[in-house]
């Protein structure tokens, strides 16, 4: 059970934060199809940051001394770098779709093609292979929080909650959850959030009340880019052992599906991403899941092909969308370039 919860969270948290990235963009009126591309770029920047810092030996002392607080700070810095560069990368989308009134679907697709191409091009030149890895060690030894890092001995039993949430976890997971809550409150309970949302519903009315629609949309897409970039790195850190190879396994697109399924509302998105995280987890680790701990691997013994489990997240997405799309309520003005002169 502990394993199942931890694995589900590993998949669900990047999905959740990237889906929220989608919400910020779409609620301001810009379709952000580029989530996948921004994630790929963010993952690359984060991993590159870790790689460069390790090569420079900045955190070697902290690592040798077992100073885990400094190492967690290192992780947060890498997340910040990924977020900043994700925001910068997303400016390409906001510039095209806000200033040049371009087709947002095509602009997003362009970014989705640009990110893996650019990342692979650079990774091949930097690392002479198709994957950029950490310079030394792996994600678990540098960044993972374990019983021993917190001062407990190997044999201590922390109880169910302690074992699940304090042992073999990443700080990034919790940072994302806290950010998710803070940003959801900002979106719904502050003046800025209200203005942002109004630009996605009726930009003309918002403009007539003195809100700068262009600025709001820039803000929406930039926040979106920062979150997606950070989410990309968190995915790379927790699920891909802090490597970057120009691929995040379709997580950006899954996050879009989560966003639509969650009806563009944070609380629903949190639920939806947990559901998808569960299915992703089942698909990735069905053969080693022991649900009630009696040593029987039910899913592995059910005789269903592994291909089916891999297909499951996508199949479920389609089925769920089929049931919910009639009710779904997208922001009214999303996808429509704002033109002051039109009514």
């Amino acid at each position: 059970m502990t394993f199942l919860i931890q694995q589900t969270l590993l998949y669900a948290v990047p999905l959740m934060i990237v889906a929220l990235a989608g919400v910020f963009s779409e609620r301001s009126g810009i379709i952000n199809l580029a989530l996948e591309g921004i994630m790929i770029f963010g993952a690359f920047v984060g991993v590159l940051f870790v790689h460069v810092m390790q090569t420079a030996g900045v955190f070697d002392e902290a690592k040798a001394a077992g100073d885990w607080i400094a190492l967690q700070g290192f992780e947060l810095l890498a997340m910040l770098a990924a977020a900043v560069m994700g925001a910068v990368f997303s400016l390409l989308l906001s510039f095209a779709s806000i200033n040049l009134r371009a087709d947002q679907t095509i602009g997003g697709t362009a970014l989705n093609m640009l990110a893996p191409a650019l990342v692979l091009f650079l990774v091949r030149i930097i690392a002479n292979q198709n994957t950029l890895q950490m310079a030394t060690g792996d994600a678990a030894s540098w960044f993972m929080i374990k019983k021993t890092t917190l001062g407990y001995s190997r044999t201590d039993d922390l109880g169910f909650l302690g074992n699940t949430f304090l042992h073999k976890v990443y700080l990034a997971t919790y940072v994302c959850i806290i950010l998710f809550i803070i940003l959801s409150i900002i979106l719904y309970k502050t003046r800025f959030g209200l203005r942002l949302r109004s630009c996605g519903e009726n930009p003309q009315a918002a403009d007539s009340l003195g809100i700068n629609v262009y600025k709001m949309r820039y803000a929406g897409v930039t926040i979106s880019g920062a979150l997606a970039g950070m989410g990309g790195f968190v995915y790379a850190l927790t699920s891909a052992n802090c490597t970057s190879n120009g691929d995040v396994a379709g997580f950006g697109f899954l996050a879009l599906a989560v966003m639509i399924f969650g009806n563009w509302k944070p609380l629903n998105i949190a639920g939806a991403s947990l559901l998808f995280g569960l299915f992703k987890c089942v698909a990735a680790a069905y053969s080693s899941i022991d649900i009630n701990g009696d040593g029987v691997y039910l899913l592995a013994q059910a005789g269903i092909s592994s291909h089916f489990y891999r297909m499951l997240p996508y199949l479920i997405t389609l089925i769920v969308l089929a049931f919910t799309s009639k009710k779904s309520r997208a922001p009214k003005a999303e996808g429509i370039p704002y033109d002051k002169s039109s009514r």
């Binding site: 095209a96 091009f121 599906a257 291909h307 297909m311 996808g335």
Partner: protein, 412 residues
């Protein structure tokens, strides 16, 4: 002469052409800048190496390798040319697929999935009908048509979801892509088409030549010796022309385009909009699958079956092909050939310099990005012309009719 030229530039089609050419030039320039920056930042690459990279980006198709002194040599390279045409074949087809759907108001990002389904059915049919009983040419035809049918059915799926359940076709296409990738892997995994004879490589399906099925060369191999080119390119061009006629000269094409411009107005005019959405996705699916069929029926290509983690780039590259051609089926022929030329350029870069083929993907992405605001570029072109006319003191011609394709055809 000058008047004739400006009349030419006032034409809508000419402006589209000019905008596309401009996108290409800017794309190549961006690629060159990236090559230059990397060359300057990387001590392992000399300035001469960067300059070679830039020259290859612009004219890699004419490269013939290096001479004994180590400098690049240039000239007509029949192998590159032939391979360019061979690789253009599936690109033209996926480009047509995206273009037709785009004209009907749908963004077909599902081409990779349709391409995979076409691949699977074509290979299975071509390898399972014994050529000792049925003549190979007939097997070829059956395999091709079966592949198209599979693609049409797979393409119709997101169409149905869009028409009847109001699911965004972009999302439905992305999901069906991955479902297709898993299905293809699954079915090949339990099939007996896996190539176990040539033990040097694993994970591939038999070539169709194993069963004696291959596309006719039609003498093209004489024209481009040493290359993989075959009759497929001619079939692709014929199909592109057929699509042009279908979209522009028939009632069905008109109805599809009407749905694309304004679905609700089309329904008001008595056009069955739901049927047309499904139909246009089915046609798009069949075209993508036809590209896969032509590629794998050539006999000298192998399919890597364990594909559940990756989607074929040929499918995605249909998007830039279609955008560069402004969704014009005839234009798709040329943009498809251009994209495959970039492919060859990438190979030359990997073989001859310290750079790698991914730079061509950067160029393609830049072109897609630019085509997102093709409308703005076109306005810029016509705006400059108008200004120049005003300065010349002539009476300005009535402005060219605003093009609706770029604006009205976008999916909701």
């Amino acid at each position: 002469m000058k008047a004739k030229l400006s009349a030419f530039f006032a034409k809508d089609g000419a402006q589209k052409l000019l905008a596309s050419l401009l996108s290409i030039v800017i794309g190549l320039a961006v690629g060159s800048v990236v090559v230059l920056i990397v060359g300057l930042a990387n001590p392992a690459i000399s300035l001469r190496g960067a300059w070679e990279g830039i020259r290859l980006i612009f004219a890699g198709i004419l490269s013939t390798g290096r001479d004994a002194a180590g400098s690049l040599t240039w000239g007509f390279n029949p192998t590159s040319m032939g391979n360019m045409l061979f690789r253009a074949t599936p690109l033209i087809m996926t480009g047509l697929s995206v273009a037709v759907a785009y004209k009907a108001g749908l963004f077909n990002i599902g081409a990779p999935g349709q391409y995979l389904m076409g691949t699977m059915v074509t290979l299975m049919v071509a390898l399972s009908i014994p050529t000792t009983v049925v003549p190979p040419a007939l097997v070829w035809l059956i395999a091709f048509l079966a592949g198209c049918l599979a693609g049409a059915l797979w393409g119709a799926l997101p169409g149905l979801l869009k028409a009847f359940l109001n699911i965004n076709e972009v999302l439905a296409c992305i999901m069906t892509n991955w479902i297709a990738a898993n299905t293809v892997t699954w079915l090949f995994d339990i099939s007996n088409f896996k190539n176990l004879v040539e033990s040097t490589k694993s994970g591939y399906i038999y070539k169709t030549t194993y069963n004696g099925v291959a596309t006719a060369k039609l003498g093209l191999d004489k024209l481009f010796p040493g290359s993989q080119v075959n009759g497929g390119i001619i079939i692709a061009i014929v199909l592109a022309i057929a699509m042009y006629i279908l979209m522009n000269k028939t009632t069905l094409g008109f109805e599809l385009k009407a749905c694309g411009s304004n679905r609700h107005a089309a329904r008001y005019a008595g056009i069955k909009d739901k049927r047309n959405i499904v139909l246009s996705m089915a046609i798009a699916g069949a075209l993508s699958a036809a590209g896969a069929s032509l590629y794998y029926l050539s006999g000298n290509t192998e399919f890597f079956w364990s594909t559940y983690q990756s989607l074929p780039a040929t499918g995605f590259n249909g998007i830039p092909v279609a955008l560069l051609a402004v969704s014009n089926p005839i234009g798709v022929i040329f943009s498809g050939i251009f994209m495959s030329m970039l492919d060859i350029v990438g190979l030359q870069l990997t073989n001859l310099t310290a750079y790698n083929e991914y730079i061509t993907d950067v160029i393609i992405a830049t072109i897609v990005y630019l085509s997102a605001f093709a409308l703005v570029i076109r306005l810029m072109i016509s705006g400059r012309k108008k200004r120049r006319m005003a300065q010349g003191g002539k009476t300005a011609e009535p402005p060219a009719p605003e093009d609706e394709d770029g604006k009205g055809g976008e999916p909701a």
